[in-house]
Amino acid sequence: MESSSAPKRNFTTKKEFYRQFRKQSIAYELWLRFMKNPTAVLGLVLFVIIVLGAILAQTLADYDTVVIKINIGNRLHGPSWDHWFGTDELGRDILARILHGARVSLLIGIAAVGVSLFVGGAFGAVAGYYGGRLDSLIMRAMDVFLCLPDVLLAMAIVAAFGKTMVNLVIAIGLSFAPRFARVVRSAVMGVRENEYVEAARSIGARDLWIIRHHILINCMGPIIVQVTLYVASAILCIAALSFLGLGIQAPVPEWGNMLASGRTFMRDYPYIVIAPGLAIFFSILALNLLGDGLRDTLDPRLKQ
């Protein structure tokens, strides 16, 4: 490597300058590539704002005194300096409820995708790695689940086991699992044929070791992309379930149930539904832009 005693090399180009960092990781190179994509950066910025809102929700608006406390005297005020997005039919600040709603949506969305990644990923990895009859068996079972619309499947699970938050996570997680199984399976099948997998076998690694140390880490690209996109779907799914009264129950704020309870006042006080609607819109947009950007970054060949 170059010695640090040669700082005044006037022919140092930008590329040369970056080369010394390249040693650290390929992650840095990927970051540079990601930053060149403006829509992806927009997605990232939006997503960071939403995450920050969720993290700071309690600091910005206290849950017990602002978010769920009914204040009839204040009901249905339009947007003002005190209440940026106005107040709802029970006099609660809509902005505060949206911030706290982001917590619920993100938490359940990420947890649900975690569940489906774990369940679907395990089945997909096994199916893709071993192939043959085991593969057919697992994937046909997954296809059966894939036939059911996932909101419907989630509804059935929640209706059967109760409307708790954990059940909601499991319900959405399981209904998304077959899609992850497919993504992971196809990624694993592509990586499986690489010579370094055979090389690992030739030094005595067992199958589970090979899947963990060589195959799955080389499938990270498509998996990360799908995770981002499915968190968006999961958030939409929670909103839909809550809107139907099967998801998060009042008074806990959630974008879907805010829409549901605001629905009756929509004609005279449209801002009451516009705000949660926009929250859903922007979070889905952010995650989709981010997901597409990540895909372009991690697998530039897919970009047409």
């Binding site: 390929i26 690489n194 370094y196 055979e198 690992a200 076998r201 030739s202 030094i203 005595g204 080389n218």
Partner: protein
């Protein structure tokens, strides 16, 4: 074992076929190979002659399906590889036998550091913790002539020749008794080839390791091998010591191989390639598989498989030309 000399590897009557649909590919047929401790055998042949399949069978890694080991025994220090259970197989892979693959660009995992990849085998076989295995990986890297400080770098930061050094370090990490080198220099520049060969040879001598060198380059054979097996269409057609093959070659195919080398002394001489192509292994010609390309073919060559004839102590040939010859006359 009756032999007074201990053999690292002994393959007897190995036959491997690839069965796809209703086609049968005769990849390896009746192969016999012996490698004494500390010696190097060169397995020479054209692409598709069955060299790599033979090598993979030693690790019992022939892809199944479609590969099927039909018959034969592979003794690794007296123990039959084909009769081992999965656990024992994992124990010997990397520990007793290790393989250097042809293309270092694809045989390294692109997103793990080279140190981690060398440490992997050590971790699997030596049951040591991460730190100790990484330390050992560093010293392995130094052994193959790469500064230990580069252990934290990724394969794409290395040149082709250095990558192959890393692959060699991975193979040697658990000091195996047998190293299988599957065309280790084919993917490298000519200038780097010599360096890598020299490195393999030095390390092999230091640790008294046996080696199976798979190649189609007779120059490499001359440089590193003690015995040579010439393989054609899945069979070993000639087998002997380096001297037997280079100075007293018998089989027309071996002769063809030597004739197709450029003659550096006579630059105007035309190359004499062997006419025709290697036969389709699904449809091998009857009799001796080489007869359609052979300049010395006799009528019986297309009808009957020649017997394996012992010419001298270590020298065997499978060809009709020598069927009736009294060997004491040669």
């Amino acid at each position: 074992m009756a032999d007074e000399m201990k053999n690292t590897l002994e393959i007897k009557g190995l036959t491997i076929q690839y069965v796809t649909g209703d086609e049968v590919v005769h990849a390896v047929t009746g192969v016999n190979i012996t490698i004494p401790v500390g010696k190097t055998l060169g397995l020479v042949g054209e692409t598709g002659a069955g060299k790599t399949t033979t090598a993979l069978s030693i690790l019992n890694l022939v892809p199944d399906p479609p590969g099927k080991i039909i018959s034969g025994e592979i003794f690794l220090e007296g123990e039959d590889v084909l009769k081992m259970n999965d656990k024992r197989l994992r124990e010997i892979r990397g520990n007793m036998v290790a393989m250097v693959f042809q293309d270092p660009m694809t045989s390294l995992n692109p997103i793990k550091t080279v140190g981690e990849q060398i440490a992997e085998g050590i971790k699997i076989h030596r049951k040591v913790d991460d730190k100790a295995s990484l330390e050992q990986a560093k010293s392995m890297l130094e052994l193959v002539g790469i500064p230990g400080g580069r252990a934290g770098e990724y394969p794409h930061q290395f040149s082709g020749g250095m990558k192959q050094r890393v692959v060699i370090a991975i193979a040697l990490a658990c000091s195996p008794d047998l190293l299988i080198a599957d065309e280790p220099t084919t993917a490298l520049d000519v200038t780097i080839q010599a360096q890598v060969l020299k490195l393999i040879n030095e390390l092999r001598e230091q640790s008294r390791m046996s080696m199976l060198m798979i190649t189609h380059d007779l120059g490499i054979v001359a440089e590193v091998c003690d015995t040579v097996a010439i393989m054609y269409a899945g069979r070993i057609v000639e087998y002997g010591t380096l001297e037997d093959i280079f100075d007293h070659l018998r089989h027309p195919y071996t002769k063809g191989l030597f004739d197709s080398l450029p003659d550096i002394g006579n630059r105007r001489a035309e190359l004499k390639p062997i006419r025709g192509l290697i036969p389709d292994p699904v449809n091998l010609p009857p009799g001796c598989a080489f007869h359609p390309r052979c300049d010395y073919a006799k009528p019986e060559c297309s009808q009957q498989l020649p017997a394996i004839k012992r010419i001298s102590d270590m020298h065997y040939v499978q060809c009709h030309l020598y069927a009736d010859t009294d060997m004491s006359m040669l």
